[in-house]
Subunit: 147 residues, 2 copies
């Protein structure tokens, strides 16, 4: 379920892909829809597990292929937030990530004006993207610990 609770029309998703020069397929549309509908920063495997029942014949290879392609086209960003596995997120430069070291969940944190990070980049370096990554305890886990 996405933020607005509406199910996006496949034709809209197809258009998104076309605009990025990505050939469409039922699988790619399903994966894109999944990313839009879930704020869960999923791994390739999570996507596969969730989609497989409703997407007959979907293979994990295709999930990997599609995500890699989406990332190359700038549609999604690859979060390397956890040592072990790669996580994915719809590309959106206006937020960073907070990872709770207690429950392991990853939360978005708003980081509006990215340009303010420019000053940290030494001259000579050409920055393409900025990402703020914070580690700590989320509200739920803070509560549990204090009770």
């Amino acid at each position: 379920m996405n933020k607005t609770g509406q199910r996006l029309k496949s034709t809209d998703l197809i258009e998104v892909l076309r605009e990025l020069g990505i050939k469409t397929s039922a699988q790619r549309v399903a994966i894109l829809r999944y990313l839009i509908d879930n704020d869960s920063h999923p791994s390739a495997d999570m996507i596969y597990q969730d989609l497989a029942p409703s997407t007959p014949g979907l293979s994990k290879t295709t999930v990997y292929n599609s995500l890699k392609l989406f990332a190359a086209r700038g549609l999604v960003s690859e979060l390397t937030i956890d040592g072990r596995e790669q996580r994915y997120d719809l590309a959106d430069p206006t937020h960073g990530h907070f990872r709770c070291t207690t429950c392991g969940n990853v939360f978005d944190i708003p980081v509006h004006p990215e340009p303010r990070f420019q000053k940290f980049v030494p001259s000579g370096y050409q920055a393409d993207s900025y990402h703020l990554y914070v580690t700590g305890t989320c509200p739920d886990c803070v509560r549990k610990k204090s009770s």
Copy 2:
């Protein structure tokens, strides 16, 4: 070779470990020295490959064990900067990282007053660490491209 070009005495390294409640061993001292002498954000395997010739009998398992222990004690930080493998760095909250997407090298960037990131963290969340991660092109690669 470290920044000052001096070879640190083993007794000093041993003291560092002891202060952190880490039992010492020849391997741990070698790994710590390596981290101090190299600003290369190495992976466990790079450390192993570089140290193996001069550290008879060193095993990759020990490199992993030591790094995990150092990280738990706050001596090093685990950089999850690349999808594939974990990278390590002497802990130092006063810098972020810049990864050149052309040559793959990782550079430190000074990010002095961390507290300035606090404002991005929504209330209720308890932040332990902040890390700014920038992606782009390093000066060397900028030069090569324009020539």
